[in-house]
């Protein structure tokens, strides 16, 4: 055990902890400010991840390693990943406009926020100054953080624990109900699709050459050529065909036919 950790368990702060704090606290505040200020939602999420990881580090210095790991796994790994996931589902380009639609909202928010921060700091200073922290070492009683927390969790807080687990399951079910969409037609299996394709016959039966094959260009949006030299439009995915930044299938066709 390092001296730092022992002291943290006993409440007093050390130089190591101070170094960690003064290094990471600005990072956390900067990340939080960035979360509020950046336009891109994904950047905001990454900045929030920075804040969360900083907090996880603080938890370790405050003798709460289990909470630190849970913070990383649950918050950073699951919750924030869920955010990113939804962000990507909702749209790749989801930047906020800079124009504030509610009159006076920003000004009032910043003013109130500053006032609140000042009040909180004043309250904390008034309430805590001169207080000597005891540290959690006594509470852990040599069993270690994980065991001590587990014992508390499954004895005094067992009902709260069960209640939160029920809440979590309810939330999961609720999310499923909210986002579930009943398909109107029975979903075709892979087998059925293949049989249908065969029954339909024609040129779609054999696998098409991959995009770019036989082409004079190696981009994925370049359609494949069929053995007779004509292009295979289906070899380029639809969303690439409609993309404005790239040449269209028709353009390539025209190019191939030439003058």
């Amino acid at each position: 055990m390092t001296g730092l950790e022992v002291l943290a368990a006993h409440g007093a702060t050390t130089t190591h902890e101070a170094v960690v704090f003064w290094f990471l606290a600005p990072v956390a505040v900067a990340g939080a400010l960035g979360l509020v200020l950046v336009r891109s939602a994904v950047h905001a999420a990454v900045l929030l991840a920075v804040v969360m990881l900083s907090l996880a580090a603080f938890y370790t210095t405050e003798a709460a390693p289990f909470l630190a790991v849970v913070q990383v796994v649950v918050y950073t790994g699951a919750v924030l990943m869920l955010f990113l996931f939804v962000l990507m589902l909702v749209g790749v380009d989801s930047t906020d406009s800079l124009v504030e639609t509610l009159r006076g909202q920003r000004l009032a928010a910043v003013a109130l926020g500053l006032g609140f921060a000042v009040l909180l700091v004043a309250a904390i200073a008034g309430a805590i100054s001169g207080f000597h922290p005891k540290g959690v070492g006594g509470a852990e009683a040599g069993k270690g953080n994980v065991v001590a927390i587990a014992e508390l969790l499954f004895s005094r807080y067992v009902f709260a624990f069960e209640a939160t687990s029920a809440l979590l399951i309810t939330a999961g079910l609720g999310a499923m109900v909210l986002t579930h969409r009943e398909p109107t037609t029975p979903r075709l299996t892979q087998k059925e699709r293949m049989l249908e394709r065969v029954a339909r016959g024609g040129s779609g039966m054999a696998p098409l050459p991959g995009p770019g094959v036989y082409a004079d260009h190696d981009a994925v949006d370049t359609p494949a050529l069929l053995p007779d030299g004509s292009i295979a439009p289906t070899s380029v995915p639809e969303y690439l065909q409609v993309s404005a930044a790239r040449p269209h299938v028709e353009d390539v066709e025209r190019e191939l036919e030439g003058p």
């Binding site: 509020v36 649950v74 955010f83 909180l120 805590i128 509470a139 508390l152």
Partner: protein, 99 residues
């Protein structure tokens, strides 16, 4: 340094999160700001545990995380539903419930 600095930092992060809730329009970012506020509270809870010399603060922080996870799950599901219906994730666009 004093343990109080953790609390000051927590207050600061909480306030920033609150202001973020007020000024951001993207529902998901608003949600993130709420998570920031919860995290700030967790930090102060852990610090309180250290000051008071027991583990209850850590336990409560643990519960906060679980409840936050539940909240995020439902909240994001709602945002998804709203987005499907309205093609917008802006909290200002979901303003039908008014006078």
């Amino acid at each position: 340094m004093s343990v109080n600095y953790y609390l000051y930092l927590s207050a600061l992060l909480f306030t920033i999160g609150a202001v973020g809730v007020l000024v951001r329009r993207n529902a998901i970012v608003v949600f993130m700001c709420i998570e920031l506020m919860l995290n700030a509270v967790n930090l102060s809870l852990v610090t309180f545990a250290r000051i008071n010399g027991n583990l209850d603060g850590q336990i409560i922080a643990f519960f906060v995380m679980v409840v936050a996870a539940a909240e995020v799950v439902i909240g994001l599901a709602i945002i998804m539903s709203i987005f499907r219906a309205r093609r917008s994730a802006s909290v200002d666009d979901a303003n039908l419930l008014k006078y």
